[in-house]
C-alpha cells in the first residue's frame, strides 16, 4: 500500500467548516484531501436515529446559514439540498399570534408574553425585517460572511461592515455608541416589554453572543436574525442532510474525504506546514499525506497548536496564549424527550385559536435577574446548576413536533433538543465529570425544568448529552459548547480567536502554509455555517493559492490586505 500521498490541500477534520472549505477549494480545481477522525464526517452537524423512528440532533438543529453566499456559489441544490418548510403551520401560528397577541416562544411563569406594537415594530426595524425595507440578508452577510479587515486598516464605525449596512438602510440606528453597547442597552432603547427582551436575550446568547457583553449588541442581535431568517425551519432530513449537500459537492468536484483517519501531527518542515501524519489506529495506518500548497486545520484551535503542532515549533509565549483561550461560552446540557401521546401544555401556555403545540420556547422570560443568577452560577461559581429548577433558564427547540419524519412512531411525539447552559467541564468545580457522575439527577432536573410548562407524566424516553460527553463524541467541541469560545468583543472579528492572538486574526498562522478553519479559531465562530470557509477563501486568494472561476464573488465590504492579491475579481 502507498504509505504516502500528495495533494494540493490537506484539511484536518471533516466538520462542516473543513468540508465546506474542501468544496470551495475543489471547485477551484485544487486536489483536496480531508481527513476525519470519526467514522462519519459532519462534525457537530449530525443526526442520530437513537431508536428506530426517532431522529434526534445531538448538536446542531437549526439552519443558521440561510444568508450564506455558499448556497449559490456551491450550488447546493444540485446535491439534493432542500428545506423542510413548514410554511402552512407557521402561517397558522402567526395568525393565532395575531389573534391572541401572544408570542408562543416567549414563556414566562405567568404564561405567554404579549409584546407591544413597539416591541415588534422596533425589533423589525433593528433586524431589517420590515417588509417595506428589508435588509436582513445584507446585515447578516455583513456580520458573518465577510473576513475581518487587514491589520493595517483601522477599524472604525465607518468601515465595520454591519455599520455600513445600518448607515445605508436605517441611518437613525447608526450611532458611534452602538459600537460600545450591550444588547440589553440597545433593547432598553428600542423594546418595551421585559419578557420580550429576555426572549431576544436568550436566543442571542444561545446563538453566539450574550446580551450583557460590551460592544457586541449587533453581533448578538445577528445571532437571532440568523435563526429568524429561515423562520427556524430545518433542512429536509435534519442538519446532517444539509451537510450531505456540502460533502457531496466537495466529492463531486474531486475532493477525497476519508473517515476513520485521525490526524496525529501536522508536519512542519522548514517552518512550513508540509502535510500531516495519521494516527496509528487510522484505517490505513500511520500514513503521511503531503500538502503541496497548504494545510487547513478544521479542528479546534487548542488541539491544532498544542497537540498537532506542539511546542517544538512554537514559542512559549504563543503556547501560553493558546492555553489561555477561554472555553467559557456555551457548554450545554442537551436533553431529548419522547412523549407517548401529545405533549400537554399547562393551560396558561395555550395558544387559543390553534390546535398547534407551541413546540419551541424560552423559559422563564420574566426578567433579566433570573438570567443574571443563571450566569453567576455558570461562569461565576462554575458549579453544577444550583438554580432552583423553577428558575433554570432553558430553550426548547421542540421543532421536532412539526417535523413528522423526525418521529415516526405512531402516537409518539418528540420534544428535542432542550438546552440548558452549564459550566464547561474543564472548569467545573468538582472536576470535569462532576455533572456526568450524577447524570440521572440532572436528567430529572431537565425533566422538571421542562415540566414548568407541560405535563411530563407521558414522557417515555429521554436521551441526554452532557458537555463532557459532547466533547468526547466530537473531539472538536472543546468545552462541549456549541460555538466553542465566546463571540465577545475580545474574541470577535479582527480579535478572533482572541485579542491576545493577533497573529491568528485572519485565518493565517505563524506557520507558513497553515490556515485555520474551525469555529474556535476563526471569525465568525460557530453557527453561521459556510461563513468561515467563504471568508477564508478571500485569504487564500490573497496568498495566491487559489483562483476561483466566475462563480466567485467576494464580500462587498471586504478590504484587501496591502501587498497581497485582491480577492475581488479583476
Amino acid at each position: 500500500m502507498n504509505r504516502e500521498e500528495k495533494y494540493d490541500i490537506v484539511i484536518v477534520g471533516g466538520g462542516p467548516n473543513g468540508t465546506t472549505a474542501a468544496a470551495y477549494l475543489a471547485k477551484c480545481g485544487m486536489s483536496v484531501c480531508v481527513l476525519e477522525e470519526r467514522p462519519e464526517a459532519g462534525g457537530s452537524i449530525e443526526n442520530v436515529e437513537v431508536i428506530p423512528g426517532v431522529r434526534i440532533d445531538p448538536h446542531a438543529t437549526y439552519m443558521y446559514a440561510g444568508a450564506a453566499p455558499g448556497f449559490d456559489q456551491l450550488e447546493l441544490w444540485k446535491y439534493g439540498f432542500r428545506m423542510d418548510w413548514r410554511q402552512e403551520k407557521l402561517d397558522k401560528m402567526l395568525a393565532a399570534m395575531m389573534a391572541t397577541g401572544k408570542i408562543h416562544l416567549c414563556l414566562t411563569t405567568e404564561g405567554m408574553a404579549k409584546p407591544t406594537e413597539k416591541d415588534t415594530l422596533n425589533w423589525m426595524k433593528l433586524t431589517g425585517m420590515d417588509p417595506s425595507a428589508p435588509f436582513t440578508r445584507e446585515l447578516l452577510r455583513a456580520i458573518y460572511w465577510c473576513p475581518p479587515h487587514p491589520p493595517e486598516v483601522e477599524v472604525t464605525a465607518e468601515n465595520i461592515p454591519y455599520m455600513q449596512v445600518y448607515k445605508r438602510h436605517q441611518p437613525d440606528v447608526w450611532t458611534e455608541e452602538l459600537l460600545e453597547m450591550t444588547l440589553f442597552e440597545l433593547m432598553d432603547e428600542y423594546v418595551e416589554s421585559e419578557p420580550v427582551k429576555m426572549l431576544h436575550a436568550m436566543v442571542s446568547w444561545y446563538s453566539g453572543a450574550s446580551p450583557e457583553w460590551e460592544g457586541v449588541a449587533i453581533p448578538a442581535l445577528g445571532g437571532e436574525c440568523l435563526l429568524g431568517y429561515t423562520f427556524s425551519n430545518p433542512p429536509r432530513g435534519g442538519m446532517h442532510d444539509y451537510f450531505h449537500a456540502i460533502i457531496r459537492c466537495a466529492i463531486a468536484h474531486g475532493a477525497v474525504i476519508r473517515t476513520c483517519c485521525p490526524v496525529d501531527e501536522i508536519i512542519i518542515s522548514n517552518g512550513r506546514a508540509a502535510g500531516v501524519r495519521l494516527r496509528e489506529t487510522a484505517a490505513q495506518g500511520e500514513k503521511t499525506i503531503w500538502a503541496d500548497k497548504a494545510v487547513l486545520s478544521g479542528v479546534d484551535v487548542k488541539q491544532t497548536f498544542l497537540k498537532l503542532i506542539g511546542r517544538r515549533h512554537l514559542d512559549a509565549s504563543f503556547i501560553q496564549r493558546i492555553k489561555d483561550i477561554s472555553l467559557k461560552a456555551s457548554s450545554i446540557y442537551v436533553s431529548h424527550f419522547l412523549f407517548k401521546g401529545r405533549p400537554r401544555y399547562r393551560a396558561r401556555f395555550a395558544l387559543e385559536g390553534t390546535d398547534m403545540i407551541p413546540g419551541q420556547g424560552v423559559y422563564p422570560c420574566d426578567s433579566r435577574e433570573i438570567y443574571y443568577e443563571h450566569l453567576a452560577d455558570i461562569n461565576g461559581r462554575k458549579g453544577p446548576p444550583s438554580m432552583p429548577v423553577e428558575k433554570v433558564m432553558w430553550i426548547d427547540c421542540g421543532s421536532k413536533l412539526e417535523i413528522p419524519d423526525a418521529c415516526t412512531i405512531p402516537g409518539h411525539y418528540l420534544i428535542s433538543p432542550l438546552y440548558v447552559i452549564v459550566p464547561p467541564p474543564e472548569y467545573l468545580v468538582g472536576g470535569p465529570e462532576a455533572i456526568d457522575k450524577q447524570k440521572a439527577k440532572w436528567d430529572a432536573y431537565m425533566r422538571e425544568a421542562l415540566g414548568q410548562v407541560l405535563e411530563t407524566d407521558n414522557i417515555v424516553a429521554q436521551w441526554s448529552n452532557t458537555p463532557w460527553e459532547s466533547e468526547h463524541r466530537n473531539v472538536g467541541l472543546i468545552g462541549g459548547g456549541w460555538y466553542a469560545t465566546r463571540h465577545c468583543r475580545d474574541q470577535w472579528a479582527e480579535n478572533r480567536p482572541n485579542r491576545l492572538l493577533p497573529e491568528l486574526a485572519r485565518y493565517r498562522t505563524p506557520i507558513d502554509g497553515l490556515y485555520l478553519c474551525n469555529q474556535s479559531s476563526c471569525h465568525p465562530g460557530g453557527l453561521a455555517l459556510m461563513a468561515i470557509p467563504y471568508n477564508l477563501m478571500h485569504i487564500l486568494i490573497e496568498d495566491g493559492l487559489v483562483e476561483p472561476g466566475d462563480w466567485w464573488y467576494p464580500s462587498p465590504w471586504y478590504i484587501p490586505q496591502q501587498g497581497k492579491i485582491s480577492a475581488k475579481p479583476r
Binding site: I51, P52, P58, E469
Partner: protein
C-alpha cells in the same frame, strides 16, 4: 411577514429528469447506482432515511458516545464481490478485517468449538469432540470449498439460469454433479450424515441455517457449503459497515450521480404501461427512463406501482410473496471490558462471532420451530454475539469502553407483542449472555438497548423485520426469486427493474443484486459497460454455459 423562499436560496427542484432513478440506497441500490453513474448515465438515488446505507447502518444507538452496527456486521462475500474490484474503494479508506477465529460455540459445561479460516485450526477444535468429525470436516471441505469457489460464489454475480439449464450445466463437471447431489438434501440431512458429534452438528447447523434456511427443507442443500464456507470467511468493515455505504456513495457522487436522502418514494409513475419516474412524500417528481427498485415486490408492485396497474400474473405472484420466516432481536450493550466466555479455549474470546445457548441439534431445532410459530421459550433459546470494539476502536467515543451485541432469531409476531414482551426478553437475553460470559456483570454494563423485529421494520422499512426482504424457500430462490416474471432484474413493466434483496441471488450483502441489475439496465439503455466480469465469473460461465 412572508419571505419568498426563492429569494433565500435555490433548492433541489420539484421536477427533474434522469436516465435512472433508484429507489432505496441500501447496499444494492448503491451498487447499482455506482456502476450506472460511472457508465455515464444520469442517476438519482432516492432514499427514505436521512442517511444512506440501508442495512449498512452504523448508528449511535447507545446514545451518547457509542455506535453499533445496528444491522449488517458480517460481510461474507468480500472476497468475491465485483464491486470491490471494479472500484478503488481504498481511496476512501475502506478497510476490511478478517479474523482467523470466525465462529465459536460455547456449551454449558465449558466445552467449545471454533471455526477458523485456517482449516487445521478448525480441525484441532473439532478433534476435541470427535476425531472422526475432524477428519470428515477436512474431507468434506475439499468438495465444499470448490462448490463455493467454482460455482456458487461466481454464480452469485451471473444472472440465474432456469433450474433445467442449471442442472444440465452442472452435469458437466464432477464438482457440479456433487453440488446437484447436495442440493437435493436438506441441511439437517447433510449435516447429520457428515458429522457424528452433536456439538459439531450444532455449530454446523447454526452456521448454515442462521440466515433463514429451513433445516428440514430439501432442494436448497447447496446453501450448506455456501454458508459454511463463507461463514468462515466473514469480514468486518473497519469503522462500521456504514463506511462501505459511504465509499459507494462517494463513487456515485464522484461520477456525477445524485443522492436524495429523507425522500420516501410514495409512487412509481407509469405512462402507457412503462415506468416513467417516481414521486416522493414531499411532492417532488423525478422523471426517468428507467426506475430500479431495491424494495421487496409487495412494496414495489402493490404499493408503489399500484395493484390496479399490474398485469394479473404479476399481481398474483406478488401477493404470494412470503416474508422471512423469522427476524432478529438484538441486544446491544456498552461495557467496561470485552466478554470472556467460560470455556476451555481462549480463542473463543477473539472470535468474530460466538454462539451460545444450544447444547445439541434437537434444542436448536426446537428453538427455531418455536420462533417460526411466534414463540420464544425462555428456557431454550440462544443466539450469537460479537464484541465489535474488539476489532474496531472507532465505535466508542469514551476511552476504555466496549460495544457488543447478542443477536437471536425472533418472530415478528411474538406472542403478546413486542411492546409487552420486549423488556422481559431483554432481561432473559442478558441473563443468558451472563451465564456464557460470567465477566459480563450487571454493574459493568454502561448502557443497553434492544432492536426488535418491529424496530427493524421501522428503521429500514424491511417488512415484518425481513432481513432478506423475503423468505428463502425453493419457490423464492434462484431463478424463482422473487418470481419467474421478474427473475433476472427486469420486470413485466417496461422500464422497471428490481435490484434488492428480494431478487436473485437473495438477501445479505452479497454484492450481486445491484450488480446484476446494473448490467441489465446498462444493456437496455445502451450505456457503455466499463466493467468486465471477474475471472471467477468468466471461468464459471465458460465451464458451464459455453
Amino acid at each position: 411577514m412572508v419571505i419568498e423562499r426563492r429569494e433565500i436560496f435555490q433548492e433541489f427542484p420539484g421536477e427533474s429528469d434522469w436516465d435512472v432513478v433508484i429507489i432505496g440506497a441500501g447496499p444494492n441500490g448503491l451498487m447499482a447506482g455506482a456502476y450506472l453513474a460511472k457508465a455515464g448515465l444520469r442517476v438519482a438515488l432516492v432514499e427514505r432515511r436521512y442517511e444512506i446505507g440501508g442495512g449498512l447502518v452504523t448508528e449511535e444507538i447507545l446514545f451518547p458516545c457509542y455506535s453499533s452496527n445496528a444491522h449488517v456486521i458480517y460481510h461474507m462475500m468480500v472476497d468475491y464481490m465485483p464491486v470491490l474490484r471494479d472500484f478503488n474503494l481504498d481511496r476512501h479508506a475502506l478497510v476490511w478485517i478478517k479474523p482467523n477465529a470466525q465462529t465459536a460455540m460455547v456449551f454449558e459445561n465449558g466445552e467449545s468449538l471454533v471455526l477458523a479460516q485456517m482449516l487445521e485450526d478448525t480441525k484441532d477444535s473439532i478433534r476435541k469432540h470427535s476425531i472422526r468429525d475432524s477428519i470428515a470436516f477436512g474431507k468434506v471441505m475439499r468438495t465444499w470449498e470448490r462448490v463455493v469457489s467454482d460455482i456458487v460464489a461466481p454464480a452469485t454475480y451471473v444472472p440465474p439460469a432456469s433450474p433445467l439449464d442449471l442442472t444440465l450445466a452442472l452435469q458437466r463437471s464432477e464438482i457440479g454433479r456433487e453440488m446437484l447431489e447436495i442440493t437435493e438434501r436438506s441441511p439437517l440431512e447433510i449435516i447429520t450424515d457428515t458429522f457424528e458429534n452433536e456439538r459439531v452438528r450444532t455449530i454446523m447447523l447454526y452456521t448454515s441455517c442462521m440466515w433463514g434456511l429451513d433445516p428440514r427443507e430439501t432442494g436448497i442443500g447447496f446453501f450448506v457449503p455456501l454458508l459454511l464456507v463463507r461463514g468462515m470467511n466473514k469480514c468486518y468493515c473497519y469503522g462500521g459497515s456504514h463506511k462501505f455505504a459511504g465509499a459507494l456513495a462517494r463513487e456515485i457522487v464522484q461520477a456525477g450521480g445524485t443522492i436524495l436522502d429523507a425522500a420516501e418514494v410514495t409512487g412509481i409513475l407509469t405512462e402507457n404501461g412503462r415506468a416513467a419516474g417516481v414521486q416522493t412524500a414531499e411532492g417532488r417528481l423525478l422523471r426517468s427512463k428507467v426506475v430500479v427498485s431495491s424494495l421487496d415486490p409487495k412494496i414495489t408492485f402493490l404499493e408503489l406501482v399500484g395493484a390496479q396497474n399490474l398485469p394479473e400474473v404479476l399481481k398474483e405472484s406478488t401477493e404470494g410473496w412470503k416474508y422471512d420466516k423469522w427476524s432478529f432481536n438484538t441486544l446491544h450493550i456498552v461495557t467496561d471490558e470485552p466478554q470472556r466466555y467460560a470455556c476451555d479455549d481462549p480463542w473463543v474470546d477473539e472470535s468474530f462471532m460466538t454462539v451460545f445457548g444450544f447444547e445439541n441439534t434437537e434444542r436448536l431445532l426446537a428453538h427455531w420451530d418455536n420462533v417460526i410459530s411466534g414463540r420464544i421459550d425462555l428456557d431454550n433459546f440462544g443466539g450469537h454475539a460479537t464484541c465489535e470494539s474488539f476489532f474496531d476502536p472507532f465505535l466508542c467515543r469514551m476511552p476504555g469502553k466496549y460495544v457488543s451485541f447478542f443477536q437471536m432469531h425472533a418472530p415478528y409476531d411474538i406472542e403478546g407483542g413486542w411492546e409487552v414482551r420486549g423488556e422481559e426478553l431483554k432481561e432473559a437475553m442478558l441473563a443468558k449472555w451472563q451465564r456464557a460470559a460470567p465477566n459480563l456483570k450487571r454493574e459493568s454494563i454502561v448502557k443497553s438497548v434492544c432492536e426488535t423485529p418491529v424496530d427493524i421494520e421501522r428503521r429500514l422499512n424491511m417488512r415484518r423485520g425481513s432481513i432478506k426482504h423475503g423468505d428463502y424457500n425453493p419457490t423464492q430462490l434462484g431463478y424463482f426469486r422473487p418470481n419467474t416474471e421478474c427473475s433476472g432484474s427486469r420486470t413485466p413493466i417496461e422500464g422497471l427493474y428490481l435490484c434488492g434483496a428480494s431478487m436473485y441471488p437473495g438477501g445479505l450483502v452479497l454484492g450481486g443484486n445491484g450488480y446484476l441489475a446494473a448490467n441489465k439496465v446498462a444493456e437496455d439503455l445502451g450505456a457503455a459497460m466499463w466493467w468486465k466480469p471477474t475471472p471467477e465469473m468468466e471461468r464459471y460461465v465458460k465451464t458451464y454455459f459455453d
